[in-house]
Symmetry: C3
Subunit: 100 residues, 3 copies
């Protein structure tokens, strides 16, 4: 197993592409988008499918090297420009080093 | 980046509100609910959309301070009262300390 | 709280059963499957609901002991036979030791 970083970003679905384009540009080899049903944050409670579902959130998951993760987080201004509800970083290990 | 705790709770959808109300009351600044398609646990296999979908599960994700996480886990009786399938705690880092 | 391992495997939905059967056989006491909306990896971008949705991915989540996790990862050939996009391992803690 090989040490990598996991970045998780919860963001409005309509802004997810701004996040994935940033991940691509910073050198991430991939990312995954998971649906979100509901959430509570600074802007109150939001639920998927609310009238005007532009408020739907998604979770963008990216497994990447420490170097790429640093570059993504260093682009803080651009990242926060997508107004994410949450940006977390954690440690993980991956099976195939050549994929990340 | 700032150290925080990630709590993940898999629970029946109909009991998720008991969990999020507990998180709110213990001081969490937010939470996110993700859908679950299927799972196997102590009660066998369950799939979303099964007849009588009261059995549907969701994943409640909460990023919070170590202090709030301790309070949530100390309320073990109330937490387990929602009959969660899984309660996990892990370490993470967040970009904006003021949000969690 | 008790130390456990979290295995996360992103795999085509049609191959998820190969993964969960492997988890079962290696001694995991349970697993959870989350839906995936979209992803980019070695094979380009894929989105849920694309024509011929056999390409839909899911995330298989398994909380287990270090021993079971080692067995799962040691079965690397069989695991990779399901052609997962991602296999990650990370540390977590659980509330009820007897469940995992």
């Amino acid at each position: 197993m090989h040490a990598r970083k996991k970045i998780e970003i919860i963001v409005e679905a309509v802004r997810a592409e701004a996040v994935t384009l940033l991940l691509d540009r910073m050198g991430a080899t991939g990312w995954t988008i998971l649906p979100v049903l509901a959430g509570r944050g600074h802007q109150g409670i939001r639920r998927a499918g609310d009238p005007g579902g532009v408020d739907d959130n998604v979770l963008v998951l990216c497994i990447t090297s420490a170097e790429v993760a640093s570059r993504v987080l260093a682009a803080e201004g651009e990242l926060l420009g997508a107004r994410p509800a949450i940006v977390t970083l954690s440690d993980c290990q991956v099976l195939r080093a050549d994929h990340f």
